[in-house]
């Protein structure tokens, strides 16, 4: 395994005349929980779409575990897991049927035992035969993580994973993310708005403003670098304001 999980070089994405992402240079070492912060429309989801190969960049390159997202997209897809924002499933199918489908698409060999293992890990057993249409938001989110880690990816992308969850759901998800990182050794890349959660969950952060990466460092170093600011939220607002000025 390479020491760098994610790296981008001048990664750019344009939608017609609109530049969603401007020459992004980003490195996330293996084993990190990286939190990408930014205002609405800053380009966070665009980065995830590019790194998960769902979109192609307009220019620039990016690598996941040393595989180029454009020229080795298949290898990239084999090594990543992805949880989209507000994940949805086939509501007419049960949890088990949904997971079986995604496990097979990911080429998992012992599908049944792997699903049991994942559900046990997520403390989510007992819902296998329930139709997804009856699931609460929190249950869907856990099912979403289950589908993302079925094939044991080394890098996990989470797009606004706490969106719409209640405080208990957020706490539960935090525990899950941390154990995925510590117990299974996954590198995690997450977009989020909840700055308080970033302090508790992430090891490093990046701040994106209007498609440009304006800051990147570890959470500890960040907190130390801005002794005048009380919280990460204040630091974020300070950096953003500095960029605008």
């Amino acid at each position: 395994m390479t020491a760098t999980a994610i790296s981008t070089t001048a990664l750019t994405k344009r939608y017609g005349p609109h530049q969603a992402l401007r020459e992004l240079n980003l490195t996330v070492p293996t084993g990190e929980i990286f939190g990408l912060l930014g205002h609405n429309g800053a380009g966070k989801t665009t980065i995830v779409n590019l790194l998960t190969t769902l979109m192609e960049p307009s220019s620039g390159t990016a690598e996941i575990n040393g595989h180029d997202i454009t020229t080795a997209a298949t290898a990239v897809r084999r090594s990543i897991g992805y949880l989209p924002e507000n994940v949805q499933f086939y509501d007419n199918l049960t949890l088990a049927e949904n997971l079986i489908f995604f496990a097979r698409l990911s080429g998992v060999r012992s599908v049944g035992s792997r699903i049991s293992e994942v559900l046990d890990f997520l403390d989510f057993s007992g819902h296998e035969n329930q139709r997804m249409g009856t699931f609460s938001k929190g249950m869907r989110q856990r099912a979403g993580i289950a589908q993302a880690i079925l094939h044991e990816p080394s890098v996990l992308f989470l797009d606004e994973p706490t969106s719409g969850l209640d405080p208990q759901g957020v706490a539960k998800l935090r525990e899950t993310i941390i154990s995925l990182n510590t117990k299974l050794g996954m590198t995690i890349f997450m977009n989020t708005h909840l700055l308080a959660e970033v302090t508790k969950t992430c090891t490093s952060i990046g701040i994106l403003s209007s498609g440009t990466l304006i800051y990147q460092d570890s959470v500890d170093a960040t907190l130390k670098s801005f002794p005048d600011q009380e919280s990460l939220e204040d630091i974020y607002l300070h950096i953003e304001a500095g960029q605008r000025a």
Binding site: T52, T53, L54, M55, T74, R77, R78, I80, Y82, P84, N86, V87, Q88, F89, Y90, D91, N92, L93, E97, I100, F101, F102, R104, L105, S106, G107, Q147, H151
Partner: protein, 300 residues
């Protein structure tokens, strides 16, 4: 189970759990079964009318229905395939691709080691298998009902012709299945995804034949072909243009020949080649859909 069979099995499972296909399926199978009994009732009335005309000394011509085979009772099925079967295929196709866009599960699929063309081919194969099973069941029901109405088990030759009809029906349904899938992939809303292919279907079934032969839309619902307009002047031009596109008329023509309709003339080859060409073109159009299109968001 490999990826290919996983997608096929998934597609079958999802389709069978959708309510709309279930309802349309019930209507279709019910009408195929009813077709034989409607045919029987019509035949009995024609024989009665003929006997009465003979009794009143109004005619000396032989009963035009005397020499008809039991396949006559399946004639209405051809119309039900054109009407209900094609609509069912459209709806199943639309829901198949729309399902992934509505639930955003397309992102979950495409972030895996799955090529868009592979995924769409496997989905298409799953739906093709679903419609093949449906038509196989319909063929068995049709054979059973005709045997009941005719009072005897139909001959092997007639049975083979019925199976042939449903095989061509599968080919005929395939372009509509693909049309539905394409609408599900390209439309910007659920309503337009359902409506656009239904409009295309109505144009193919009701408007194109009118342009080529002056046949009235409602008369096209009758399995007995109406006499074509004189193929000169306006219609000589329009029929050359629209006839190859009148998929419904090609299927009805092929169906009439397969069912040994004495009024049907010509060969079945051109019609089958035309239907096949449409089926291939439609499948290619589905499979060539790009990743970005598959992921596009819906507006409702």
């Amino acid at each position: 189970m490999n990826r290919w069979t996983a997608v096929i099995a998934h597609e079958l499972l999802c389709t069978m759990r959708e309510r709309l296909p279930q309802v349309l399926l019930a209507v279709f199978v019910g009408m195929v079964a009813a077709s034989a009994f409607i045919g029987s009732s019509a035949r009995a009335s024609v024989t009665g009318v003929y006997s009465e005309a003979v009794r009143q000394g109004l005619t000396t011509v032989p009963n035009p229905f005397d020499s008809l085979s039991p396949l006559y009772y399946a004639r209405n099925s051809v119309i039900y395939i054109v009407l209900i079967g094609a609509l069912l295929a459209i709806v199943v196709g639309v829901y198949s691709t729309l399902r992934d866009r509505q639930a955003r599960t397309m992102d979950l699929v495409l972030s895996r080691d799955v090529r868009p063309s592979f995924y769409l081919s496997a989905k298409l194969a799953g739906l093709g298998l679903f419609t093949a099973l449906l038509l196989a069941v319909s063929a068995v029901i049709s054979i059973a009902c005709i045997s009941v109405v005719a009072g005897r088990i139909i001959s092997v030759d007639d049975g083979a012709r019925l199976v042939g009809l449903y095989a061509v029906a599968w080919l005929f349904i395939l372009p509509f299945l693909c049309l539905g899938m394409l609408a599900g992939l390209y439309a910007t809303s659920v309503t337009s995804a359902l409506l656009i292919p239904i409009v295309v279907w109505s144009v193919t079934i009701f408007i194109l034949p009118l342009l080529g032969t002056a046949a009235h839309p409602v008369s096209l619902l009758n399995p007995v072909a109406s006499p074509p307009a004189i193929q000169s002047g306006f219609f000589a031009v329009t029929s050359n243009l629209v006839n190859p596109l009148s998929l419904g008329e090609h299927f009805k023509h092929a169906g009439a020949l397969i069912l040994a309709d004495p009024q049907a003339t010509g060969t079945v080859t051109t019609s089958i080649w035309t239907i096949l060409a449409f089926a291939i073109a439609a499948c290619v159009a589905v499979i060539m859909t790009r990743r970005g299109r598959m992921r596009s968001a819906l507006h409702d």
